[in-house]
């Protein structure tokens, strides 16, 4: 399972880098999105993957039963996904506006020199 996940993460990173290096606005965004997904997956796997019970506290108990999964990586990943979602959504809108303004998909035109 770990090998499979490692391969999946590695492949996602690889595709992300490939997109990032394409030099066009939309592949840049795709690459950044994939890069985010790959790092989320990595946090999740890095936190220790196990087949375990959900970390829920039963009624009347004070702690989850023994053998429950570590809830922290799940919390971290959920937070990171929410943040990445918001930022990517905004970056998309920004890219639409910037694409309209520059009227090209070629990243070389996005230098930042004022006219």
């Amino acid at each position: 399972m770990n090998v499979l996940l490692a391969l999946a993460i590695g492949t996602t990173f690889g595709i992300a880098v490939l997109w990032l290096l394409r030099g066009s606005l939309w592949s840049l965004l795709l690459g950044l999105a994939l890069l985010g997904h790959a790092s989320h997956l990595l946090i999740f796997v890095g936190g220790g993957l196990a087949v375990a019970a959900p970390p829920l506290v039963a009624e009347g108990a004070l702690a989850p039963a023994a053998g429950a999964a570590d809830p922290l990586p799940q919390a971290l990943v959920l937070t990171a996904i929410v943040i990445a979602f918001a930022i990517l959504a905004f970056a998309l809108v920004l890219a639409v506006c910037a694409g309209d303004a520059a009227n090209t998909d070629d990243l070389d035109a996005y230098g930042g020199e004022s006219q």
């Binding site: 890069l35 990595l42 990171a80 943040i83 920004l94 910037a98 996005y110 930042g112």
Partner: protein, 496 residues
Amino acid sequence: MNASVVVAPILVPLVAALFGALGPRRPGYQRTVGLLGAFGLFVAAMGLLASVFVEGVIAVQIGDWPAPFGITLAADRLSAAMVAATGLVAFTVVLYSTAEIPDDVVTAGFYPFVHVLLLGVCGAFVAGDLFNLYVWFEVMLLASFVLLALGSGRAALTSSITYVALNLLASAFFLIGVGFLYGQVGTLNFADLSLKLGDPAALDAARPAALLLLIAFGIKAGVFPVFFWLPAAYPNASFAVSALFAGLLTKVGVYALLRVFTLVFPLEALGLAPGLLAVAAATMASGVLAAASQAHVRRILSFHIVSQIGYMVLALALVTTLGLASAVFYIVHHIVTKTNLFLVGGLIARAGGSEQLDQIGGLSQRRLGLTMLFAIPALSLAGVPPFSGFFAKFFLIRSALEADAIVAVTFAVVVGLLTIYSMAKIWIEAFWKPAPAETHLDEPLPRAALVACAMLAVVTITLGVGAEALWSFALATAEQLADPQEYLNAVLGDPT
């Protein structure tokens, strides 16, 4: 009561942002709420500084969950000093912005986003664990995207793509580092990490995470060779926004370096110090050389940020208590001076009609007040006594001499001279050179903007005259960083 002091610098901007966003979209209301919120933050920041000064490190467990399981906010002298500088920058920049930002941008939600940015900055300064630091970084980043794009022209929009892409890349590095670290050590709380990484084997295993975090913070701080986003983005925003960014954003990156690479990963134990020293020297040199080749006020200033970030990283890389102290001194000086210079840059553009140095001139004959306002931070940045910049460089060079880092001293001195050159260039071109014929803009400069610049100038002079007091504060801060026992006790509870 203690808890409130740490939470207040986060709550005040949050509440100000909420009032701004929920209230009527009238420019008058928005400006008032913006200004009140910024003043509130200033007061809260001073409160935090005073409390930390009197009581030492203050830690709060949010929601009453004990560390290292819950969310910890902790303020030591470094955090408090950074929050205090943020409060000052927030108030002066918002004051300035009331005179610069047009009504349509204000009603589009300018001030709520300024406050969200301040929320992120203050949150990052008091965050007690690595993941919270990440979350605050992102809050800050999101607000900065919006501010960069709000009401700006084509150049700002297209250049913001570079900014967004590089910062998202840094965030990815940050997250990967966090993932590795959690997998290896099983905690993300700074204090807990510090204890667990005290074991050399654990530290060795965490080396990849340390390098990833170094890259992430390096991009955020704008060090060589990943500073390109900075001069691309800053000169195209409005003056108030670029001053806010110049004063605060990269310094959050430097703060993260200072925090993580003293408390969590001791630089010396990792053997990263020589590499970081080289990076710092390259940052200083490339920033100042690039600045020397520019002829546009804010582009010169933007490249100077890069060069000065190099000074701060250099001080950190000396891995001595004196070095840390001079880093703290330098950061405080830099935040005040740089914000001031960007704001004055806005006034120069207003009085001269342009930011291109070849299109303006003669300001020293027509604008005496402005000349004074520029001279103070410019001389300070160039390192002329009695302003704060002289002492910042003086202490840094002395620390480097005591650490026997002769190459570092050489770089610091040469780069300092080149800094004087660029400041002199703005001076000669904008102030001394006779004005090109057609530019005669004689309208008075807005009073709020002049007052904001004057306040920062007064602080620069005070920091210079009171350098001894600031230096002893910086030394105490450095001792707190070098020996984290007080921080650990405050966060994890006193074992005795």
